[in-house]
């Protein structure tokens, strides 16, 4: 047993959490351009900063998933032409 690797089930849950966090981060970032209230905007910015930190930490630990693989430069299947 390789102690560095994560268990299957926790890796799958990390997958869920990472995708959710990514969506949250992008929403909090982009919605700042749409909100009017500056207090709300400030709180969203705080969320962006916290989420970036959290996402970085999650990525670092996700590296140890049993199905870890080399990361390509961009999405493998282009949608244009």
């Amino acid at each position: 047993m390789d102690i560095q690797k994560l268990a299957d089930h926790e890796s799958l849950d990390l997958h869920e959490v990472i995708n959710f966090k990514t969506l949250c981060l992008v929403k909090s970032k982009l919605m700042q351009g749409l909100v009017f209230d500056q207090d709300l905007r400030a709180l969203m910015q705080k969320d962006v900063e916290q989420s970036m930190q959290a996402l970085g930490e999650l990525q670092a630990i996700y590296n140890r998933a049993p199905f870890e693989a080399p990361i390509p430069q961009s999405r493998p299947t282009p949608i244009i032409n």
Binding site: E16, V17, F20, F36, D37, L40, L43
Partner: protein, 122 residues
């Protein structure tokens, strides 16, 4: 209000409407985040993963609290006065239904042509 998205009468109260919607979205995301993290915690076995998720769970709960307080403060959310909340719910549902009926993007939204080559290729 009418269904013409270019009619200036429709821009009345838009800031309040927009902010309540975005704040509600933010609140729901924070809520779901806490729940997701807790579920992931009960599935994790590695101490490092548990440690990380537990910290993020605590942070998530704190963020949820802050959003709740902000929304109560701004009168966008009334957890203690259910009939106030009821009015808001119905109003925002009505307004959103109206937006749903608008023809917001009448022209073709395919912008792929803007991305198909680098500037040097011209």
């Amino acid at each position: 209000m009418n269904n013409d998205y270019l009619d200036p009468i429709n821009s009345l109260h838009v800031p309040e409407l927009a902010d309540t919607t975005f704040a509600m979205d933010f609140l729901l995301r924070a809520k779901e985040g806490v729940r997701n993290t807790a579920v992931a915690l009960t599935e994790s076995a590695s101490p490092e993963v548990r440690e990380l998720l537990r910290n993020q769970l605590i942070q998530g709960i704190a963020m949820h609290q802050e959003i709740t307080e902000l929304m109560i403060d701004k009168k966008w959310f009334h957890p203690n006065e259910l009939s106030e909340q009821y009015k808001l719910d119905q109003l925002s549902a009505n307004n959103t239904l109206m937006i749903g009926k608008m023809n917001l993007f009448p022209v073709d939204t395919n912008r792929k042509g803007m991305f198909d080559r680098t500037p040097d290729e011209h």
